[in-house]
Amino acid sequence: MSNNEMNYEHIPAEKFAFVQDKDRLHDTELKTKARSFFADAMLRFSKNKSSVFATWILAFLILYAIVAPLLSPYGIRDKDPIYINFPPYIKAISDLNIGIFDGAKTYDSQNDNSMLAWDAIYQETGMNPLLRVTGTHETEQLSRGQTIKRTTYDIEVNAYYAKGMVYRTFSYSEFEKIQKYQNETGIQVVYPYVESKDINDQTDTPNVWYQVDSKGAPVTDSNGNLIPAYSTRTSYEGAPYNSIRIPGDDGSYIYSFKKAGAVQCRVCYYNYYRYLHGGDLPTYLMGTNALGQDIFCAIGIGARFSLIFAILVSAINLSIGAVYGAIQGYYGGFVDMALDRISDILSGVPFVVVTTLFQLHLAQKVGVVPSFLFAFVMTGWIGMAALTRRQFYRFKGQEFIMAAKTLGASDRRLMFKHIFPNAIGSIITSCALVIPGVISSETSMTYLGIVNLSDFAGTTIGTLLSQGNSVVTTAPHAMLYPSIFLGLLMICFNLFGNGLRDAFNPTTRGEDA
């Protein structure tokens, strides 16, 4: 038994002393600060680890939506005509050769001739499109009584280098400007022209600069080297060329071809792109979509619209639903029944039909976005009204309402000063769960193409997903990044909303929305 423990039953009387003897006794002020309802809820919220984590990710995603379009070197209106559905590419990371951001595109079953064609691009431009060989297959074929061994390769190529040459038509002044750029920077943009009759009448094959046979397969000399087929017919030259020439050119190759009032050139698109963008290399963190837009920027633009739109819709629905539900719940009886019939009818109309009808009727008159907004408002408030109605039924019979009524408070005062503040917690928290619902429906509608917001918002997540869906096999990145963004956004919003609801109404903890 320690000395600290005392025998509380037999305390001698002299040990007691009066706290106050002569003065009047006052209540002391509270030493601790009173914790408000809101602070209490926040404390509970911060103890919910998954919700806090989700909130951080959510904050990051919202920050992304704000910042990404500013960080991207491209705007939403920059649409590259050639780099369409191209994979993610950043030159600095690509040069590290670690297999990411290298614009890799897979080509299966490439035979020796195709491999030679890839190499030809390397030989001409000095940029090797071949990143790596992922597989080699050897097949033996019986041909004219002989067994021929054929080797095919599965390869990954840098799509940006692999694009190689394109034909472009320039005005004379533009052609002069390109030559000037070439002289200043030493970057070869224009390459010698190849006439289709020199390459066995093949057309639309700008990457072929060597002699080919009738099937289009490269012809090699005795050393296995490609034989150039550049045009030397100066009578067809479109405009004089006074700029850098490719190695091996003795000055006889022509660099442009005569067209009516203009010249046609074979340009290396990668270098031409640098010419167009003031020397900048193509930098697509998440690749490009079907319109040649930068997906990194486009997701941000789409997310901005989705978030603002969802918050707007929730705010409007919240206001309408709260008033409607308040009237229903407060008056009850016939009013409740009549208003309930109206919401029954409205909630029965399928959302696709509502959206379509609003688009068809109103899009011409008030614009696409307002009519889309009306479609959401038309049916969206019903859930909120039902919730408010329930809360009103819960509170309207309680004593404090009777007391206020006895004191002569008007109906409006009772509804909005006495009942509504009690119900606001659950109404606000359900709003946090309405936002992801709105984003999801909005994405579905733009994905299905029922609503086209591209003219207004630039693009939306739904539009991006829809564009990506048509090229799932060739350019999975176009669908992957918007999907990740949308998936994360939805999960985090729901976790955040659940956490908020648990914090504000601890009694409902564990019930998922």
Binding site: L357, S444, P476, L480, G510
Partner: protein, 317 residues
Amino acid sequence: MVKYTIQRLLYMILVFLIITCMCFILIRMLPLPALPPNDPHTEIIQLRRESLGYNKPYMVQFGIFLKNIFTRFDWGISEQLYIGRSVWSVFMEKLPASMIVNLYSILWTIPVGIALGIFAALKKNTWIDYLISTLTMVVISVPSFVYAFLIQYVLCFKLRLFPFVMKGGTDWFSWPMFVSVVPAVLALSFGVIAGFCRTTRAELTEVLTSEFMLLARTKGLTKAQATVRHALRNCFVVIVPGIFGEFIGILGGSLIIERIFAIPGVGGLTLNAINARDYNVFIMSTCFYTAIGLLASLVVDISYGFIDPRIRMGSKK
């Protein structure tokens, strides 16, 4: 109970008529798209429009529309997509594809979903419960086209297990058809599994902590007996109406999944009708989706009464 059912049914028909009337008038108010000039059907369609009262007041048009449905079951003629064909026959042609995908999906998802929910509830607050609850939350949050994309890319393209889109033809129950709808079925399934899992878990955890469960244990039942006989029965009051609702939903299909996997179903028809401004098909689709939605909620409400005597008694008052 019979009286309640009839009341609800009549009310549903009334709501259906009001919605249809609203949508019908709104659709008829739209300007009509031009008909192809040299098509032999054009003249017939013009004459039909005359007889359908296209220049009469909208309520008269709606009356003629209803009269044609009730007397001849004539829903009109497709004017753009399947020019000259009866809308009803086009619709019936599209319905099986939508139904087959949904049917396969709910046949395995409902048992799996309920089983997972029961499992999670019995193992409440263990890592299994947390894992199942988290996955459920993730699957419910993520929109269906995201995992439709994953399924299409991984299973159909990378692993080449299934064909990319649904196969044509009308051999609905053949093996190749089954294989070709598997991706779409999977994409539809996750959401349903998660939904049932969550409801079951929530209900069962509530029932398991109630006092009659304690009584059941104290009178000597094992945990398994008490769970199966008392807890599950009670939580099925909520789950079974959900199953009925899901079965009605089979008809509806999913616009998004049908588009991704090129299922020649009702959803695709509706979208095409909207894009091609084929209003007769669109009216039919509107009626169809409205009816499905109303019917599902009606069946859910009534089945509550059939399953739970407490609710049945309450409705008699």
